[in-house]
């Protein structure tokens, strides 16, 4: 892979028209003493699920805390549903946060904890809301047990339940999947998906990228405090046109297929290894349309066509490489 500098993307152009959306971050920076945690980030998010990605220490948690008003931006402004969460009491009832740290009131039972959250939001039927929330994260049967005795996965689900009791319009989830096993993760992702479809603005940060990809394709990528990419990760991959797509093709006669691909001008580079051909192509569309024709034409049986680097994890790695 050529060591080209990562592409500078559309975000460089500062949007002129005023930002609108349920959640607006306008030229926000945050400094802790001399450390720049977040530097001049601007974006707006509307309903649906948006994944916030970035290496550890990129400023994700700091940005999340600013979105909920837990800490003020050093520069710029954050507005959630049109208000500043730090000073506007009313909007704090329409936002929910699942914090990253694993701290809970250990002496409270799960249902007490959720009821506390519901009452804190002024939910009329707080007992009902608490019970429903427990059911959604399937902890209904351990509702009476003190949270202190819960496993890491169960504590995580209690935190998510607490963020649901007030039927929030904006949901901010800081690494909600940690400590969950695959089945629990699948349930949680289906839940986020449903919340997004209901018109809520759901922002999720996570490192388990292939799971995040299932939630939604819209991503914001942050590295070293800066917003370096925004949009659907597949579009982002297409935008990286200077970086060849690598595809592994298994077939009965790799040598002939490889030659034909190069001859047809669809592959920038091929390398044959046993029954497989590693194809590097700058035009994924052309390749996709012609690989089947070629195989049929040459009478070669295609056993596998597998793109190696257009999943979210590869997009993340290319964007964040060297930063």
């Amino acid at each position: 892979m050529s060591e080209l500098p990562p592409p500078t993307l559309a975000t460089a152009a500062v949007p002129i028209e005023p930002l609108t959306g349920m959640l607006v971050v306008d030229h926000v920076s945050k400094f802790f003493g001399s450390v720049v945690a977040v530097s001049d980030v601007t974006f707006a998010i509307d309903e649906g699920v948006t994944a916030l990605l970035g290496p550890n220490g990129a400023g994700k948690s700091t940005l999340f805390r600013m979105l909920c008003g837990l800490t003020p931006p050093s520069r710029g402004a954050v507005s959630v549903l049109g208000a500043d969460p730090r000073n506007d009491r009313e909007v704090r009832g329409r936002i929910s946060l699942v914090p990253q740290q694993d701290a809970l009131f250990d002496h409270l039972s799960a249902s007490d904890f959720l009821e506390l959250a519901a009452r804190g939001h002024g939910v009329v039927d707080h007992a009902g809301a608490a019970a429903r929330a427990l059911h959604v994260v399937d902890l209904a049967d351990v509702g009476a047990k003190p949270v202190g005795q819960f496993s890491k996965g169960m504590r995580q689900r209690v935190k998510v339940a607490a963020a649901l009791v007030n039927d929030p319009e904006v949901l901010i989830l800081d690494e909600p999947l940690t400590g969950l096993d695959p089945v629990q993760r699948r349930h949680m992702i289906a839940l986020f998906h449903r919340l997004g479809d209901e018109g809520r603005c759901v922002v999720v940060s996570s490192h388990v990228l292939d799971e995040v990809a299932r939630i939604g394709s819209r991503v914001l990528v942050i590295a070293q405090g800066r917003l370096i990419a925004r949009g659907d990760y597949r579009d982002l991959r297409e935008l990286m046109d200077d970086r060849a797509h690598r595809i592994r093709v298994g077939c009965s006669d790799p040598r002939r297929l490889a030659a034909a691909l190069v001859e047809r001008g669809v592959a920038a580079g091929v390398s044959v290894d046993g029954h497989q051909v590693m194809v590097d192509t700058l035009d994924a569309d052309a390749f996709g349309r012609s690989i089947a024709d070629l195989a049929v034409e040459l009478g070669v049986r295609l056993t596998e066509v597998h793109p190696l680097d257009d999943d979210l994890e590869s997009v993340f790695r290319y964007l964040v490489e060297g930063r």
Partner: protein, 250 residues
């Protein structure tokens, strides 16, 4: 069946409800067994020494000195510090404050609720033993009534101040002890002017006013002795509420 099928109808949270919420959580948080047993043992010193003094039929001045020294000077402030400081301090240290902060409620009900929880737990471990100590000294002459008023007013004052310590300072225990042992213990003894800024002077003044005994550093009239600590508490809680709203929350 998802929680989101039936949107939860919500109404603005009444301040009193918010106070009750914070009160409930903080009260259960402070009910740690170790802490209560430890401080109850400490508070035992007061009645025991009162009883010891009583059986040696000591003078009124000795009794008032004992009550003011051990009761108002040691047991009351230390117990108030541990509970009032921890009321919000523990939540900050455990990083659970966000579950009371990120809510559509004002800051002052959270502070007031927490302070009330601290008073609820501290009262039986301070007022009861100190008043019993005064009773056991057998010095009569209004010492019991004086002690009762002094400890109640003192508790309010100390809880107010130390709740503010818990909100503002990370190591509130160390700073609280410094205030009790060094500021009230030494510096305030130095001069009347300086003493004005020490709660101990006011509680002692109440005790002296009711008993007529002579005690150094206790020359304020009853009205001042009662009103100032209460005002101090209110101001401290107001500052704490402002501070809670303006500082970072983990």
């Amino acid at each position: 069946m998802s929680v989101v099928d039936r949107p939860a109808a919500r109404r603005p949270v009444a301040p009193t409800a918010a106070v009750a919420l914070a009160y409930g959580v903080v009260l259960r948080q402070l009910l740690g067994r170790g802490r209560i047993i430890g401080l109850s043992a400490l508070a035992l010193i007061a009645p025991v020494s009162g009883w010891a003094l009583g059986s040696a039929d000591a003078s009124l001045d000795d009794a008032v000195n004992l009550v003011a020294g051990i009761g108002l000077g040691l047991v009351l402030p230390v117990v108030a510090l541990v509970f009032a400081g921890a009321s919000i301090g523990d939540l900050r240290e455990d990083k659970t404050l966000v579950y009371l902060w990120l809510r559509p409620i004002d800051r002052w009900p959270v502070v007031v609720g927490a302070a009330l929880a601290a008073v609820t737990i501290a009262a039986p471990i301070t007022i009861v033993p100190v008043v019993v100590a005064a009773l056991l000294t057998g010095a009569g002459n209004g010492i019991v009534a004086g002690t009762l008023v002094a400890t109640i007013v003192g508790l309010v004052g100390y809880v107010g101040v130390f709740t503010l310590f818990g909100v503002w300072l990370k190591r509130f225990i160390v700073w609280g002890l410094a205030y009790i042992l060094i500021w009230e213990g030494f510096i305030a003894q130095a001069g009347a002017g300086v003493a004005r800024v020490a709660l101990r002077k006011y509680t002692r003044s109440i005790l002296v006013d009711r008993t007529g005994a002579d005690l150094d550093l206790a020359d304020f009239p009853l009205a001042v002795g009662v009103i100032v600590p209460v005002v101090v508490a209110v101001v401290a809680l107001a500052v704490a509420s402002w501070r809670l709203g303006s500082q970072d929350v983990d």
